[in-house]
């Protein structure tokens, strides 16, 4: 164990980090590090979870289509919130990269489909940044500073539908280069390449979870809203109005409930009007 994971805030039981990994040998160090449990009853894509730490991991198999399908499957199975961070971790080929070095892909190209992505908040102080080309078959890299993989593009294309672009990451460890042939790669080597980067991944995760929490703070619907929804019938428009107004209310009165305004109401429209009136009476006091 590299560091004490108990320091992570476990108050949030929803998955905040969703891992998409192609091979079991790539996933093993993460499964072990985060003490993820295999979820039974699923034969399509194996899923591992630790709800206390808020991590879910899916093994996608090799290739873009598998990565895209597994990402979608995990989003649905884990009910991932829109503030979840999505991470694609795996090995990649390079021409000039040092074997075992971890990179963050900040430009990901799919040359076949002519797609290009620029995923993730960049962590240049912790990890080197690189361009990744996602190919449909293993091929040696012929350009300096570029990595070859087989999943990143498919993963990003779909993960950005479940979270914002800045919370979607692709991290790759160099497994082969111009001096070390890809034929030498075996399960033990892959396991060790990823395992050796756990400390660096841990540092990245601390930052990623901070961003995810910030996004949660921004997007989370106040608990009180659900209570009000139970009492009156709200149309979709009014639901959104209530959420918006309650957020404003919470800025002005972080410790005050709206229960007195709800009590006076007979309809959903009354609730919104009452909150609106109370907010309109406010003075612009910046002090």
């Amino acid at each position: 164990m590299v560091s004490d994971r108990s320091k992570v805030d476990v108050s949030n039981v929803e998955p905040t980090v969703c891992w998409v990994v192609a091979l079991k040998s790539e996933a093993k160090p993460i499964i072990s590090y985060f003490e993820l449990d295999h979820q039974s009853g699923n034969n399509i894509f194996p899923i591992y979870r630790n709800d206390k730490l808020g991590h879910s991991l899916i093994i996608s198999g090799v290739g873009q289509i598998n990565a895209a399908a597994a990402t979608t499957y995990l989003a649905s199975e884990s009910d991932a919130p829109p503030w979840a961070a999505w991470i694609n971790l795996g090995i990649a080929g390079s021409m000039d990269g040092e074997i075992g070095k971890l990179y963050q892909g900040i430009k990901v190209i799919n040359p076949t489909k002519e797609k290009v992505f620029f995923p993730g908040y960049r962590f240049s102080k912790i990890v080197s940044l690189a361009e990744i080309q996602t190919l449909d078959y293993p091929a040696p890299v012929k350009k300096n500073g570029v990595l070859h993989d087989m999943e990143a593009s498919g993963f990003i294309d779909f993960a950005t539908r479940f979270s914002c672009n800045e919370l979607v990451f692709s991290f790759k460890v160099v497994s082969d280069n111009s001096e070390q042939d890809m034929k030498l790669i075996d399960k033990r080597m892959v396991n060790s390449l990823i395992g050796n980067r756990l400390q660096q991944l841990d540092a990245l995760l601390d930052k990623i979870i901070t961003l995810s929490k910030l996004e949660k703070q921004r997007l989370q619907i106040p608990d009180e809203v659900e209570e009000v929804f139970k009492q009156f019938h709200f149309s979709v428009t009014r639901r959104n109005q209530l959420i918006q107004k309650l957020r404003k209310w919470k800025i002005q009165f972080p410790n005050r409930s709206i229960s007195h305004l709800v009590k006076e109401a007979k309809t959903a429209a009354d609730v919104i009007r009452n909150i609106d009136d109370a907010l309109t009476d406010l003075k612009f006091d910046w002090t």
Binding site: Y121, S124, S128, L129, Q217, R247, T287
Partner: protein, 332 residues
């Protein structure tokens, strides 16, 4: 500090690209085909990007000069604007850029000469008088000057058209090349201002009002025409007292002869933009305060807007001629 520069393949070898690149220490360089690949894409998160914006160096191909939006101009018959840069290094909470782009990365168009050519064509096409060109609509005109050198490059052009005005709009206290150069009568340095107490809350990452007034004082002493921009006017319980304090400070420090113009405008957003910005910063006090929806705009309401405008004009009348005071209101 910029850690990554995305560069359009077409301008990789441009001398200005090389010069800008050299201002940063070991940035990661990534080539792109077109800046639109990375800038302002769906699902990008402005707020998270703003924590660490990347720089994008690109070439602009058309629309170098555009008519200024209604409410942006001053006394000239025709007002134009141009943007050699998208986005700003400051993070002012009311800024419309955060509602306009989903990306907080900075785009710099390195082909300044194409801007200059089109500006010159517009000048000639419009009789070379009664025109004002605004820099700093999609960015701060001077804040990135030590990286781009844009102001330094454009000043000679306007020097040769004395009846055409150029306005740099800024919050920056980065005063070069103005401080060491000779003033140009038709080049106005316009500073955005609000009471310090409000700026502390809202003008994040921008120089304090005290530093801005110091900068104004220095440029005025050098002979540069000064613009004062109270736009947006921010309402508060004690706004009269706060704005009076600010005006007194300015009147005490900046000689009236240095003032080219004063403009003011209310806090006002198109509805969609207001919704986008409040979604981005739902915890922001500015957006929790009561605003009214009129036509397709969200604002303080006409009574508050008029009261603030009248107060400002009344308090400035003894400082400058009324003809130098302009109200900038985006028309619905």
């Amino acid at each position: 500090m910029i850690d990554t520069i995305f560069i359009e393949r077409g301008v990789v070898n441009h001398s200005r690209t090389q010069s800008i690149k050299s201002k940063f220490k070991n940035p990661t360089i990534i080539e792109v085909d077109r800046y639109q690949e990375i800038f302002n894409k769906r699902s990008q998160n402005f707020r998270i990007q703003k924590q660490n914006p990347a720089l994008i160096l690109a070439k602009k191909h058309d629309n170098f000069v555009l008519p200024a939006p209604s409410g942006f101009g001053l006394a000239s018959t025709r007002n134009f604007y141009f943007s050699h840069m998208y986005n700003c290094i400051y993070d002012c909470r009311y800024c419309f850029l955060q509602g306009m782009y989903s990306s907080a990365n900075y785009v710099i168009f390195v082909n300044f000469e194409d801007f200059f050519d089109e500006i010159e064509q517009s000048i000639q096409a419009n009789g070379a008088k009664d025109l004002t060109f605004f820099s700093g609509y999609d960015c701060d005109s001077l804040a990135f000057e030590n990286i781009t050198g844009f102001a330094e490059s454009i000043l000679p052009l306007f020097k040769s058209y004395p009846k055409v005005d150029l306005e740099f709009r800024t919050k920056s206290v980065q005063l070069e090349p103005l401080k060491s150069g000779l003033p140009i009568a038709n080049c106005i340095v316009a500073f955005s201002l609000m009471p310090e107490e409000l700026a502390k809350r809202l003008d994040k990452k921008a120089p304090s009002i005290k530093r801005r007034i110091n900068a104004i004082e220095k440029l005025a002493a050098r002979g540069w025409p000064i613009g004062l921009r109270f736009d947006p006017l921010i309402y508060s319980k004690d706004w009269k007292q706060l704005y009076k304090g600010l005006l007194m400070e300015i009147m005490h420090r900046v000689p009236r002869e240095a003032i080219h113009s004063i403009s003011h405008g209310p806090l006002r957003y198109p509805k969609k933009m207001y919704q986008d910005i409040t979604k981005l910063y739902p915890e922001e006090l500015l957006f929790s305060l009561p605003m009214s929806e009129n036509n397709s705009y969200v604002d303080y309401g006409v009574d508050v807007e008029n009261e603030m405008a009248e107060f400002l004009i009344k308090n400035l009348k003894n400082y400058v001629e009324e003809e130098k005071i302009f109200q900038c209101v985006v028309q619905a």
